[in-house]
């Protein structure tokens, strides 16, 4: 792989750090040090990003709602996260008397661990994947599926009805949306023929006619899959308009009701890091990861492109939060099973058609036709005249 000096500056820096160790300590220690450097870099970058985005989010929301947002601490209120962090650290940590102490304590720890682990397999730039695993995409989903259990631990360990209700809601929507989330990834995996994130990035590195980047979002199935993936990611990270599990007006703060001080901050952090991870995966799968949008822009370092695309997606997250009201639980569920899932399967079929019609303009038209047909059929079928009456069940009484 090529790459100029600025592009590879972090790789060189790591190699230099490791060269200080080689020869003085045994090989396994060098390996551990190499991993530790990756972990430290990941944590450093993403915790800074978390601090930045928390203040930027409040600023942007303020702008949307025609007010100032935080502007007291430091220039433009930029030191607000520092003040918030100190506040969270010195707050009293209250554990309910009837809570399950161990489970209550472990839940925030594990949820943060799961969120941070998912960051490890995303390629941030040329040669900049922290942990290269052959089944990287699978690893991402395996770890994020474990976070459902931790949400449950938080809800159950608190011994509080609001916590429990919040956890039930969270798990219901996370399980429902995990399906479209994973199935929309399948077309990309199928077309590339690999679960390795680096190979998926390489497959998007060329240009059609010398200027249109070969990103999957520019194919009909890719565009549809990207939208579905983005919405599912929004639900998975419990963000507005899908923040039913922690809807303040209904169940206080859902599974986080009984957490205070730094434990609450840990949940907050895990939520944001989960958001970064899902957006990062969306950038990797559909938006060409660290590749430049135009060939002559390749001189700009790859990691800058990645973080530029990531920040655009994060901005959309904040924008949606400022714009849309909260949906109802049954609306979310209906949307998942009646619309998202069939559309996700359609993407899979459309990608297969695109592949077998030669991946050219004919495939483009055919797959666009299939997706449009299914979309219109669904929109007609789902247009039912709702009767409002108490729900009755046939067997489960």
């Amino acid at each position: 792989m090529s790459g100029n000096a600025v592009d590879q500056i972090f790789i060189r820096a790591k190699e230099w750090l490791l060269s200080l160790l080689i020869g003085r300590v045994p090989d396994w220690a060098v390996q551990i040090a190499s991993s530790l450097i990756n972990i430290a870099a990941l944590l450093g970058v993403f915790l800074t990003l978390f601090a930045l985005i928390s203040v930027l989010e409040r600023k942007i929301l303020g702008r949307i709602q025609n007010r100032y947002g935080p502007n007291r601490v430091g220039p433009f209120g930029l030191f607000q996260p520092v003040a918030d962090g100190i506040k969270m650290l010195i707050k009293e940590d209250i554990v309910p008397a009837r809570a399950d102490k161990i489970v209550h304590f472990l839940a925030p720890v594990l949820i943060a661990a799961a969120a941070i682990l998912t960051l490890g397999v995303i390629p941030y730039g040329r040669n900049m994947t922290p942990f290269v695993i052959d089944g990287g995409i699978l690893f991402f989903f395996a770890v994020s599926s474990a976070s459902e259990l931790t949400v449950f631990m938080a809800g159950w360990g608190s011994n509080n009805k609001y916590s429990m209700l919040g956890a039930m809601r969270a798990i219901a929507q996370m399980i429902s949306y995990e399906l479209p989330l994973i199935i929309t990834v399948l077309p990309v995996v199928m077309i590339v023929g690999s679960l390795n994130p680096d190979k998926i990035v390489d497959a998007q590195g060329t240009y059609v006619f010398g200027f249109i980047p070969h990103w999957f979002v520019f194919t009909p199935w890719g565009a549809t899959a990207f939208l579905l993936f983005f919405v599912s990611g929004l639900v998975e990270s419990n963000r507005t308009p899908f923040d039913v599990p922690e809807g303040e007006s209904e169940i206080v703060a859902g599974h986080m009701t009984e957490y205070s001080g730094f434990k609450y901050a840990t949940f907050f952090m895990a939520e944001y890091i989960g958001m970064f991870a899902v957006s990062g995966l969306a950038v990797t799968l559909f938006l060409g990861a660290w590749h430049a949008p135009l060939p002559f822009l390749e001189f700009i370092p790859s990691y800058l492109w990645f973080f530029a695309k990531l920040s655009i997606l994060l901005f959309v997250y904040i924008w949606l939060r400022g714009t849309l009201p909260r949906t109802r639980v049954d609306q979310i569920m209906n949307f998942a099973w009646k619309f998202m899932l069939p559309m996700a399967f359609t993407c899979l079929i459309a990608a297969a058609i695109w592949h077998y019609t030669g991946r050219g303009w004919r495939g483009w038209l055919w797959s666009a036709g299939v997706i449009a047909a299914v979309y219109f059929t669904l929109s007609i079928l789902l247009e039912t005249k709702k009767k409002f009456a108490p729900r009755t069940y046939r067997f489960a009484e």
């Binding site: 396994w28 399950d100 489970v103 695993i133 052959d134 089944g135 699978l138 690893f139 989903f141 395996a142 770890v143 599926s145 474990a146 459902e148 259990l149 449950f152 631990m153 159950w156 798990i171 399980i175 995990e178 023929g193 690999s194 679960l195 729900r391 009755t392 069940y393 046939r394 067997f395 489960a396």
Partner: protein, 161 residues
């Protein structure tokens, strides 16, 4: 290095398994179950079967453990009730242990050296599933679809009445 890792994982997995059997609260037992699954997936990683290890985490922790936890929550159980010591359980456990020991000691060890194992990649697994093992895969697919439809029928809204 590998032996030490094996020992650590084995101790953790066995401890979690023991906790599942002995803990008083059902929820704690269910959560220890998840830890045990994690230990087993660590064994798969140690053996170089990356894909199986990841699927183990995915299916057993992401789905089965959540299902168990849900079931524990939705069914009625008395936390206060203390159970007496179950002697029949000891007999069954001893019988199983004895049977396993007998089977292991009777088994002849293979004398030939193991063949060199080619690395199992995700690519190769996919290829095999779509060629040699395509019928089992399809059967599992049909079975899971049937289960899904069954679950839907159970919770379907009744329009007739």
């Amino acid at each position: 290095m590998s032996a030490v890792t094996f020992a650590i994982i084995a101790i953790l997995t066995l401890a979690a398994a023991l906790a599942v059997a002995t803990l008083q609260k059902l929820m704690h037992a269910a959560l220890s179950f998840a830890v045990m699954f994690l230990g087993i997936s660590a064994f798969f990683f140690l053996l170089g079967a990356e894909f199986v290890g990841l699927v183990q985490v995915f299916v057993y922790i992401g789905a089965v453990a959540v299902l168990i936890v849900f079931t524990v929550l939705l069914t009625r159980h008395d936390q206060e009730k203390t159970r007496g010591f179950n002697w029949s359980g000891v007999v069954v456990a001893l019988a199983v242990f004895g049977g396993l020991i007998w089977a292991i000691t009777k088994t002849k060890l293979l004398q030939s050296a193991p063949r060199p194992i080619e690395p199992i990649t995700v690519h190769r697994i996919g290829e095999l599933l779509m060629t040699s093992y395509v019928w089992p895969v399809l059967c599992v697919g049909v079975l899971l679809t049937a289960a899904l439809i069954g679950a839907l029928i159970l919770v379907m809204e009744d329009k007739g009445q």
